[in-house]
């Protein structure tokens, strides 16, 4: 949380996150570039430029796969949430690795020609009507453009400027990029090689992304409290835990986080004003709802961040129907105070009939 824009709000966790990420990328590239040539028993080595291009291309694919696995993994097991914390840096690094791959390709395969290399990239192969020999480079270009857009708009300035919903939708481009990379690889190197170890690794990576997303979606679906009608049921009173929330999905598709704080229920939007993080998966810390992604905080009664911060989220009305907690699907304007609903006092234990002191 901040009241001004600074390039990166560094803290020890971000340093550790980036150090681990860079160590992983360095390990991949070092092993690929310097260790594997010794393991290959080729009479003549692969050209260094092609070897480098392959190393960076494969690394970008693996990084993208890891990035896309983090989200659903964190939904399935909240212990993975810290891996989400600084995922933006992972994404920016992936864009640089992919750009390096593109640079090697462009300055090798499309260089040394009388025509401009960028022009050559677009016209050298125009066999769009066939699978074998399809100009797969086009998918790589599209994926790279997507990654560069995501990297360029990853800063909080763009989040504020575009508004979180637009920013979030823009960043769904990551899926378009991944599908495009999959097509780039499938129509390129996978059609060309005799050794199928890479094919297996590619399928395992892409399969993990698909399976994890499906599993997270199914779990969310089974837990959804979507109901028709004016008021939506959330959960029974006994299901609430002090300091934590229950999430309800409204018929509109929006999600509401209903928190129990100091014996009273309050409802706010489940989408954090920062990056649409799931507020309902956070907890109350110092009387404030704390987002599990980046720690943005809100007063659960009015959806406002504590001063001097200015973030606000919508609030909702809550009511009790018997032991069922319900929320009204119409959101109040962000920052609107709503009186919390107190839970009924538990009935005192009555002495059994006939008992004596």
């Amino acid at each position: 949380m901040s009241v001004k824009y600074i390039p990166v709000q560094w803290n020890p966790n971000k340093w550790v996150y980036d150090a681990v990420m860079l160590a992983g990328v360095a390990a991949f590239l070092w092993v690929f570039l310097y260790l594997t040539p010794g393991a290959l028993s080729h009479e003549w080595p692969i050209n260094p430029q092609i070897h480098n291009a392959r190393a960076f291309g494969a690394c970008a694919f693996v990084m993208l796969t890891v990035i896309l696995c983090i989200g659903p993994a964190a939904r399935l097991d909240k212990r993975f949430l810290p891996l989400l914390y600084n995922r933006r840096h992972f994404g920016v690094m992936t864009a640089f690795v992919a750009l390096t791959h593109a640079g090697y390709i462009l300055n090798w395969y499309f260089a040394f020609s009388s025509s401009d290399k960028y022009v050559g990239l677009l016209y050298a192969n125009s066999s769009f009507g066939q699978i074998a020999g399809f100009p797969f480079e086009i998918f790589g270009i599209f994926a790279l453009v997507c990654l560069l857009i995501l990297a360029a708009t990853s800063h909080d300035f763009w989040l504020k400027f575009l508004t979180p919903p637009v920013w979030k939708r823009l960043h769904y481009l990551i899926y378009a990029a991944y599908f495009s990379v999959a097509a780039h690889v499938s129509l390129g190197i996978l059609q060309d090689q005799q050794n199928h170890v890479f094919t297996v690794l590619f399928l395992v990576g892409a399969g993990a992304v698909i399976v994890l997303h499906l599993a997270a979606w199914m779990q969310e679906r089974s837990e959804a409290a979507a109901k028709d009608g004016a008021w939506a049921e959330v959960a029974r009173i006994n299901d609430f835990r002090e300091g934590y929330a229950k999430i309800a999905k409204l018929a509109t598709g929006d999600r509401v986080a209903v928190y129990l704080m100091e014996g009273k229920l309050s409802a706010i939007s489940n989408a954090c004003a920062h990056q649409n993080g799931p507020l309902g998966e956070g907890k109350i810390i110092d009387c404030l709802v704390t987002c599990p992604w980046h720690g943005f905080q809100y007063d659960v009664r009015n959806g406002r961040s504590p001063a001097p911060f200015t973030e606000k989220v919508p609030t909702y009305r809550v009511r009790l129907m018997g032991d069922m907690v319900e929320v009204h699907p119409d959101a109040n304007p962000p920052g609107t105070y709503v009186e919390p609903v107190a839970l009924p006092e538990p009935e005192p234990d009555l002495p059994e009939e006939g008992a004596t002191a």
């Binding site: 690929f32 009479e43 494969a58 212990r79 020609s113 020999g133 060309d192 810390i285």
Partner: protein, 251 residues
């Protein structure tokens, strides 16, 4: 209900999470390193083609023939290149030497450059300007093409220079755009036959009636195809006039 550890980015990680996160970090780094090894070590052999800088600059004399791609039939060789050898010529980068070779068609010329070699496939990258190719005095013997009949071949169309070793790997679908650029730059195209043809694996592939390889054929570059056409022998080089109507893509 037990209290679950809750991570807040700007606060120290809760104790119970630290072991999990440490394990995840180690697995991530080790996993990326392992993936790098498996992917890097799974690369196919790019083949034996290479620039033979170790041979040094080669200079020989012979008869230039435009087939329409420039070929030289050696009349005066050296320790490595013998009289009677025939090989294709190319310029630096993705360019041919048509402009320099055409005026010398049928004449004696001295050529000088660096050899690219891949098994029986031989090509010379000429030096620039007249240092690379120039006319020399003398009578040029006639080079008479010898018809070898119509053949149906299976294999792949490549650009001769990358295949011969300018790039490793210099063939295959992932290399198709590069091969097309070379062919557009007048580098001689080569057909790599799956089976030896008259003792040769590599044939210079041209269009019908001695024309250049038609642009329509570029769609089939790097594909595994079968096609028919007349083969003629020019010196010790086989030239295949591909019949475009007979091209079939095979698995």
């Amino acid at each position: 209900m037990s209290e679950k550890p809750f991570f807040v980015g700007y606060l120290p990680a809760p104790g119970p999470l630290r072991t999990f996160l440490l394990t995840a970090c180690i697995l991530l780094i080790a996993g990326l390193g392992g993936a790098g090894f498996l992917m890097g070590a799974a690369q196919d052999d790019p083949g034996p083609g290479a620039f033979r800088f170790d041979y040094g600059r080669q200079t020989v004399t012979g008869v230039v023939e435009v087939t329409p791609y420039p070929v030289i039939h050696v009349t005066e060789g050296n320790d490595r290149i013998k009289p009677g050898d025939s090989f294709m010529m190319t310029a630096g980068g993705k360019s041919g030497v048509d402009g320099r070779a055409m005026p010398l068609n049928g004449q004696l010329a001295q050529v000088s450059g660096t050899v690219l070699e891949r098994g029986d496939l031989y090509m010379m990258q000429l030096r620039g300007g007249r240092n690379g190719i120039q006319a020399v005095e003398g009578d040029a013997p006639d080079i008479t093409p010898e018809p070898q009949g119509r053949w149906k071949l299976a294999g792949e169309i490549c650009d001769g220079k990358c295949l011969a070793g300018a790039m490793r790997p210099g063939r295959g679908l992932a290399h198709k755009a590069c091969a097309n650029l070379c062919l557009l730059g007048d580098v001689p195209p080569i057909f790599v036959s799956t089976q030896p043809v008259l003792g040769e694996e590599f044939l210079l592939v041209v269009g019908p009636d001695g024309t250049r390889l038609p642009r329509e054929a570029y769609d089939h570059v790097a594909q595994f195809i079968t096609a028919e056409g007349e083969i003629t022998k020019h010196g010790d080089l086989l030239v295949w006039e591909i019949d475009m109507d007979t091209i079939e893509v095979t698995e």
